[in-house]
């Protein structure tokens, strides 16, 4: 149960953060394109 809580907690903040980083990286790609 504790492990599930931990995974859920990190997923709740990690997934949006990963999405934001991915979206930013697609913009950054223009710098090297």
């Amino acid at each position: 149960m504790k492990a599930v809580q931990l995974v859920a907690g990190w997923a709740l903040v990690g997934i949006p953060l990963a999405f934001g980083i991915y979206q930013t990286l697609t913009k950054v790609a223009a710098l090297f394109g």
Binding site: W10, P16, K27, L31
Partner: protein
């Protein structure tokens, strides 16, 4: 409302402390939206038929309120604990969006000032400092890592809010397919309502996940005597009231002010600056608007990553040493940028990337530096007072850069040479910060709290 009290948030035995960083991140990712206001800035200019400056005031009020509320309410946050603080921060932050949306729907710009700027700004201040003290108590072995993770969220919040807000504006505006589309006011109002609901829910996750450690709790295998043996790391405690009477507080204030002012100088002007640095004799820049947008994105990543990486590194190097790097190496990098930045875009991008990572690192390492100097007793409140340096830098940084640039020519016609006076001024500021940091010494025992006033107040549930 006793379920918000500090006493109700004491962690049971066996509680996993790694649940605390996501709780803190949940709050910081939400309030980090403050750095994504450019998404709807043009839309608000069109909706209110206002100038860019008039709309920019919304953000300025919010940042000033962040510093003021963190300074004034810091002690309240330390006394009442993280859950109540996060709950109140959520009420203010979401309430700010609600009042702001009312201002947009009724065409009253002053209501947006009051809503997003004033009310939301208070939410920013309380939210920013709410998890700091608790994180430091859960991670006495790695305070830099812990606060770096949370404060990284403030940088990351804009990365999330920016694409999500754009998508929502497109969803709410039926004309979003038009060429040169600018979102209408109605869609921005609906965006504010949506963000109010989403952010409130997320911050509630943070508020109801966060817990304070029980009295006397220490992590497995942690030996407090090792921490105490390090130079500058005190085993004593200083109250917030006394901390601002010490020379150390004001030296760190100057350090943060100089570091933030220098960073904001680049961040605020990032997109036009890279284009101006590579402007040809014919007036055209080698750097397109799209590439400049990519550069801004890269700096956002540097800002976010620097907060985590440098702050975590400070646990190994010591806080004073890492600020020597931010300010000393930062001075050299700024000098290189001013003198050799226009030679190649690669050099320019690398220098700016590292400089902005130091800017983020300066923010994230500050709470741990305060913990080292003043102990954990009221470190959240002391951190709140320190954030006035951010408010001051938020005014000084853009003022310095814009004043120099205004004197050099019109936007769109500037070249790299026009930036040299501003950049060299930043070099001077970083040197002042470096010297201030050199003078930081342990706090005199006259300012230490007597042991009897600290019973139960520095570990565990109290004052977390």
């Amino acid at each position: 409302m006793s379920w918000l009290d500090r006493d109700r948030t004491i962690a049971p035995p066996g509680f996993n402390r790694w649940l605390i960083p996501p709780a803190a991140l949940a709050v910081h990712l939400c309030i980090g939206q403050a750095y994504a206001t450019s998404v709807y800035k043009t839309a608000l200019v069109a909706h209110f038929d206002a100038s860019l400056v008039q709309i920019g005031v919304i953000f300025s009020i919010a940042i000033v309120m962040l510093g003021l509320s963190a300074a004034v309410l810091g002690t309240w946050v330390d006394t009442n604990g993280p859950r109540k603080a996060m709950f109140v921060a959520a009420l203010f932050w979401s309430g700010g969006f609600l009042v702001g949306s009312l201002g947009i729907f009724t065409d009253q710009l002053w209501l947006v000032y009051v809503g997003y700027g004033f009310i939301g700004g208070i939410g920013l201040g309380i939210g920013y400092i709410s998890p700091v003290s608790t994180l430091i108590k859960w991670f006495p072995d790695r305070p830099g890592l812990a606060t770096g993770m949370a404060i990284m969220g403030f940088g990351g919040g804009a990365l999330i809010a920016s694409p999500v807000s754009t998508a929502l504006l497109r969803f709410y505006d039926p004309n979003s397919g038009a060429a040169n589309w600018v979102a209408n006011g109605d869609s921005v109002g609906k965006l504010f309502l949506t963000l109010a609901v989403i952010y409130f829910a997320y911050m509630m996750f943070g508020a109801f996940t966060i817990k304070v450690p029980a009295a006397g709790w220490v992590p497995d295998g942690f030996d407090p005597s090792r921490v105490r043996s390090q130079a500058l790391v005190t085993k004593n405690h200083v109250s917030a009231k006394n901390a601002i009477r010490t020379r150390q507080f004001w030296l760190v204030w100057v350090v943060l002010f100089c570091n933030v002012t220098a960073g904001i100088g680049i961040l605020e002007q990032a997109a036009p600056m890279i284009q101006d640095f590579f402007r040809q004799n014919d007036g055209n820049s080698l750097v397109s608007a799209t590439v400049a947008g990519g550069f801004v994105g890269l700096l956002s990543l540097a800002n976010m990553g620097g907060r985590f990486i440098w702050s975590a590194t400070s646990d190994k190097t010591g806080r004073k040493n890492i600020y020597m790097v931010y300010l000393g190496v930062g001075t050299l990098l700024y000098l290189l940028l001013a003198l050799f930045g226009p030679s190649t875009t690669a050099l320019y991008v690398i220098l700016a990337f590292v400089i902005i990572s130091f800017y983020g690192g300066g923010f994230a390492t500050a709470p741990a530096y305060l913990r080292d100097l003043f102990g954990t007793f009221q470190v959240g409140a002391i951190h709140g007072r320190l954030l006035t340096a951010w408010s001051a830098a938020g005014i000084a940084g853009p003022l310095i850069v814009n004043s120099f640039l205004d004197a050099q020519g019109a936007p769109g016609e500037l070249t790299a040479a026009a930036y040299q006076p501003a950049l060299l001024t930043m070099v001077g500021l970083l040197i002042i910060g470096f010297v201030a940091n050199l003078f930081v010494r342990p706090v005199h025992s006259d300012y230490h709290e007597p042991e009897r006033s600290l019973v139960g107040a520095t570990t565990g549930e109290a004052r977390a």
